[in-house]
Symmetry: C2
């Protein structure tokens, strides 16, 4: 729920330092001048995932190109502290919805994977990144989630850093609710958890058996109903955000 009248926020790849001008892309220049009717001298906010958020002034540098001059840092760069999301690739619409909502809900890394039952075959990384950029600009995030290329689930599991817990959403399997797991067993390390969501159709039984055997995996339930895969991803991230790591700490403090 954005307030009106907030400054336009844009993501840039460029370094942000006082009075070091930033060239805006053609698409950004078009958006600012044609869509939003901004011009030289107007203010905007810039972030690049490294240097915090900066207020900058617009300047024209040619007929259609705009640049921005960073004036002052409005927020410092916070440490990246979000969970990693691994999800069975879905069709274009739901996959893009997951990336958009996962960005809003603070995921630090998003990995689409191929599993036994994934039906979707391909994904355009550039489109997923574009959705993440737009979501980050709107939700006032100061970094982008890292979007990994599509890989087989096995490859992601083989490369998984074992000190990072991976919570696996398992429907129809006996597993404690995600909230219970987060409150009862906070991650033993300071690494935010990973969350693994299957594709439409869920995991195959042998996949669940394999996941159960991996020491860093814990199966969890997302409630009594059978959620669509994209709903499961959003619900798991929302629950994680509200309970871990700082959330859970606060909540436990107040319950104890």
């Amino acid at each position: 729920m954005r307030q009106r009248q907030t400054l336009i926020r844009l993501f840039t790849e460029a370094d942000l330092r006082a009075d070091r001008p930033v060239a805006l892309t053609a698409a950004q220049s078009h958006y600012l001048t044609r869509v939003m009717r901004r011009g030289a001298g107007d203010s905007l906010l810039l972030f690049n995932g490294r240097d915090g958020e900066w207020r900058a002034s617009l300047a024209s540098v040619g007929k259609r190109a705009m640049a921005a001059w960073p004036a002052e840092q409005t927020r410092p760069q916070p440490p990246a502290a979000g969970p990693w999301l691994v999800f069975g690739l879905l069709k274009k619409g739901p996959s893009e919805l997951i990336v958009e909502k996962a960005t809003e809900l603070g995921a630090a890394r998003i990995s689409p994977v191929r599993t036994a039952r994934t039906a979707a075959e391909r994904v355009k990384d550039a489109r997923l990144t574009a959705h993440a950029v737009e979501a980050a600009e709107q939700c006032e995030r100061l970094d982008l989630p890292r979007i990994a290329p599509l890989r087989p689930l096995d490859a992601v599991l083989a490369a998984w850093p074992t000190e990072r817990r991976l919570l696996v959403a398992a429907e129809r399997a006996a597993a404690p609710p995600l909230a219970t797991r987060l409150l009862r067993e906070p991650s033993p390390t300071s690494h935010p958890d990973g969350l693994l969501i299957g594709p439409e159709g869920g995991f195959d039984d042998w996949e669940l058996d394999r996941l159960r055997e991996l020491p860093f995996c814990s199966l969890v339930s997302l409630g009594p109903r059978i959620l669509r895969a994209e709903t499961a991803a959003i619900a798991a991230l929302a629950c994680w955000q509200s309970l871990a790591p700082a959330g859970a700490f606060d909540a436990r403090q107040q319950v104890e």
Copy 2:
């Protein structure tokens, strides 16, 4: 994440009793025969929000019309126990997304409202209901959320049953996190909470002031980022589902 090979589930308005035939609609008959290639003798599941879930057998009753004969109840009707969702009307796509996901996440009632900053003017109740029916069929819910007609927020607040707590998602206002509120202050009554989500642009300051004064309202935060309105609605319901009422009880038990 649905399993393959599960029976088709359909919502019907008809009563469900053993061997009392149920006429299926033209759309349902078309879906079963043309899209899913089912025919006489095949099994399906029916629910109507009152009589639980029934396994039924398909029968042809004319060239294109199908009927179903309930054979046995597969699940009893559970009591309706979900939260009420009140949301500032959005454009068609995000409003329909909210209804779909709120149905999956167990909302018992969904009320679109007009607020100071809502931009959308109209909503087709029948379309929202169609999204709720499809979501309920897919997520194995046994009832439909009640979808109220669009009304001014004031009218919904004036008619609000005061024994039911209304948790108001307020961005940029000092308010405790929703999870903290749910864990620390469970609803004093047995009525599931209401959740109120503003439109794009949030609530006006005077609206928040009014909401603060209402004895049944409590302001809550949904986290550090500024969520799109539809993300806020989904995240609030996911958090509520995982922590209240049974969830919170379990979680508290295990933390204490």
